[in-house]
Symmetry: C2
Subunit: 350 residues, 2 copies
C-alpha cells in the first residue's frame, strides 16, 4: 500500500524558488517506493505582499496546517525596499508559522563535511547540533514604541521565557544528546546579565538533567561561546539555547563549517500537533536571485531532516550520503544551482 504524504511547499523570495526546486528534485528521487509526496505550492512572500498586501492569510495558514510537513525556501525582499518595512515578512510569515505551528525545537546541525572549506585554519572534527528554542525569547514580538520618530522615542523589546517553554526544549535537547556518542550538552545563555531569563534556563537544565544521568552538562556565556566556536568547535556536541542566541550562533556555526550554503534546519514540533517545517538557514539573497548562482545544498540537506522527521531514516541517510559524496567531488569550478541539484539527485537515484 502506498503511503501518501502531503507536503506544503513555500518557495518564498529571492533564491528561495531556485533552491526549493532542487530540493524537491532530490526528494522525489529519495522517497521510498511505497511513499508518495504530494506537494502543494503556496505563493507567500515579498511578491505576494507587494502585489496584494497579504502576508499569511488565516485561510492559507489553516490549509498549511493540514499537511504532513512544510518545505520552505527563503523569505525576505530587497533590503531597504521602502514598500517592505523590515519585519513584515519575517514576523508575519516565517515567525508566524514557527509560532502558530509550535515549532519549539529549531534544529540546526553543523558538521564539517569532507570537501567543505572552513575559514578556520584548523577546525578539527566538527559535528554538533544546535537546539534553538523557537517560540519564546526576544522573538515573541512583545515590544512597542512611544513617541515614534521624535527625540523622546522609547522602544522596548520583551524577551519572554516560561518554564513550560524552556523545559520542553531542554528535554528535547537532552534526549538528542543521550542518543549521540559523546552525550554532551552545553547550555548557552547570558545568565550573568539576563539574570531572570538565565535563571529559568539554568534551573531547568539542572532539573531535567537529573533524568539524563549519562549526559555531561556544561554552560557557556553566549559571548564566550563565539570564541570557542572559532577556536575549538570540536568541543561541542549538543548546544541548547534561546531563540536569539541560537539565531546568532547558528549563522556563526554555518560560517565556520563551510558556509551558509550548506546549513540546513528543521523547525520541529516534536509533539506533532502541527506540521514541522524544514528550511535552509540562509536568507533570500535577492542580489543573486534568478541567476542560478545559489547553492541548493542547504535546502537539500533540509530535505534529509524532513525525511528523518517523518520516520524515513533510510531515505534521509541516502540524501545525506549523496550530499557528502557530491561535496567531496566538488572542484573549484562553479556549478549552476540546477547542476548541483541534478548531481545530487542522480546520486540519490543511484
Amino acid at each position: 500500500m502506498t503511503q501518501s504524504l502531503k507536503l506544503a511547499v513555500i518557495p518564498g523570495d529571492g533564491i528561495g524558488p531556485e533552491v526549493t526546486a532542487e530540493a524537491l528534485k532530490v526528494l522525489e528521487q529519495a522517497a521510498p517506493a511505497d511513499v508518495k509526496f504530494e506537494p502543494t505550492r503556496y505563493d507567500l512572500g515579498a511578491e505576494r505582499y507587494l502585489a496584494t498586501g497579504e502576508v499569511l492569510p488565516d485561510s492559507v495558514l489553516a490549509e498549511i496546517r493540514r499537511h504532513d510537513a512544510i518545505l520552505l525556501g527563503a523569505v525576505g525582499g530587497r533590503p531597504g525596499d521602502p514598500n517592505l518595512p523590515p519585519g513584515i515578512l519575517e514576523r508575519g510569515l516565517l515567525l508566524r508559522l514557527r509560532f502558530e505551528l509550535d515549532h519549539y525545537v529549531n534544529l540546526r546541525p553543523s558538521r564539517i563535511f569532507p570537501g567543505a572549506t572552513s575559514p578556520l585554519a584548523d577546525p578539527g572534527d566538527v559535528d554538533f547540533v544546535v537546539v534553538r528554542e523557537g517560540t519564546e525569547g526576544p522573538y515573541v514580538g512583545n515590544g512597542g514604541a512611544l513617541r515614534v520618530g521624535t527625540p523622546a522615542e522609547i522602544a522596548t523589546e520583551v524577551s519572554v521565557n516560561t518554564a513550560f517553554g524552556v523545559e520542553r526544549v531542554v528535554r528535547d535537547a537532552f534526549a538528542r544528546a543521550a542518543k549521540r556518542p559523546r552525550k554532551k550538552l552545553t547550555l548557552v545563555h547570558k545568565t550573568n546579565v539576563l539574570v531572570h531569563a538565565g535563571a529559568v534556563w539554568s534551573r531547568l537544565v539542572t532539573e531535567v538533567g537529573r533524568e539524563f544521568p549519562d549526559v555531561t552538562v556544561d554552560y557557556l556565556h553566549v559571548d564566550a561561546a563565539t570564541i570557542f566556536l572559532t577556536t575549538d568547535p570540536g568541543r561541542f556536541d549538543v548546544i541548547v539555547t534561546d531563540n536569539l542566541f541560537g539565531d546568532i550562533l547558528t549563522d556563526l556555526a554555518a560560517a565556520i563549517t563551510g558556509g551558509i550554503g550548506l546549513a540546513a534546519s528543521g523547525n520541529v514540533n516534536p509533539d506533532r500537533t502541527a506540521p514541522s517545517m524544514f528550511e535552509p538557514v540562509h536568507g533570500s539573497a535577492p542580489d543573486i536571485a534568478g541567476q542560478q548562482k545559489a547553492d541548493p545544498t542547504a535546502a537539500i540537506l533540509s530535505v534529509a531532516l524532513l525525511l528523518e522527521h517523518l520516520g524515513l531514516d533510510d531515505a534521509a541517510r541516502t540524501v545525506e550520503d549523496a550530499v557528502v559524496a557530491d561535496l567531496a567531488a566538488r572542484g573549484s569550478a562553479p556549478r549552476r544551482t540546477s547542476e548541483i541539484g541534478d548531481a545530487i539527485a542522480a546520486r540519490v537515484a543511484g
Copy 2:
C-alpha cells in the same frame, strides 16, 4: 608644572590583579614627565562580596566618581559558586559602574597585530572598532520573574532603547568613522525581528548620517555579521551596535584577531561628566588565577586607550608601539604574566 591625574584602580577577581599590576607598571613608564598618575586601589569583587556582602557601596561609588579615570582588571567569581549567584557582581559592580558613570560608548578596537595568530586561515588586513552602546538595550536590568521555581514560572527581560541613548552613541560612532581613512560605518542589529528597537537604530543612523556625508553606511543583521567577521573581517571599519550584540560581536572579534588576551576596551563617557573606565574584554578566568599564566596584553592595551582618552596621545602611541613590537618578537615559549609586563614596560621606557 606637573599635572596630577587621579586613577581609581579596581583589580577585581581571578587574573584581574595580575594583569592590572602589569598595566600599572606600563602606565608608570608611559606617563609623560609632567604628568603624575595617583592610583587609588579599590578592593571590589568576589572576595569582598563573599566576606562582607558588599558589592559597590554608595560611598565607594562616590569616591570613584571623583577620579580622572578608572582602570579595571576583571570581575567575576568561580563559576557555579553557590554563594555567588550569577549577576551579583556583574550587575552590581561592573554594569553599575558603566550605567552610573554614563559610559555610553563601549569602545572595542580590533586589529590583527603582526605576530598575533588568528584562527582564521586567511584573515587579511583587519582593523576595525566596535562602538557598543553601554547604557541601554537588554542590559538595563529591567526584567523580572513570576512564580519562580515552579512549572508556571515566567521570566522577562526588557530591552530599552531610547532615541536619546541611541542618537548619542550613533553620533560618536559617526565621528570616529569620519576620522578614519576608510570612513565606513556598519550598523548591526536585528531589525527584521526586533522591529521596534531596530526602527530607532535605523532611523537615527539615517538621520545622524546626514551630518556626516563623507561616511559610507551599511547595515547587517547580527547573525550575518558573525558570518562576515569570520569570512571577510577586513570589510569592517566602524561597527555601531546595541549593548548585547556588541558584547557578542566583540568576543568574536577578539577571537578572530588573536584571542581575548589581546582585546582592550574603554567604557567611555564622551561628555566627561564622570570618569571613563578602561578594562580588558576578557573575564576573571579563575581557573588560571594566581599562576602568572594570564596574558596582560589586553590590560596594557587598555592603558593605551586610557592615555588617549586623557589626551596623552603620544604616550598612548608609545604603549601601543611597545605592544606591537613585543607581539612581533613573541616566540612560542610561554612567558609569565610579569615577564610580558616587564618586556613591554622596558620597551616603553625606551
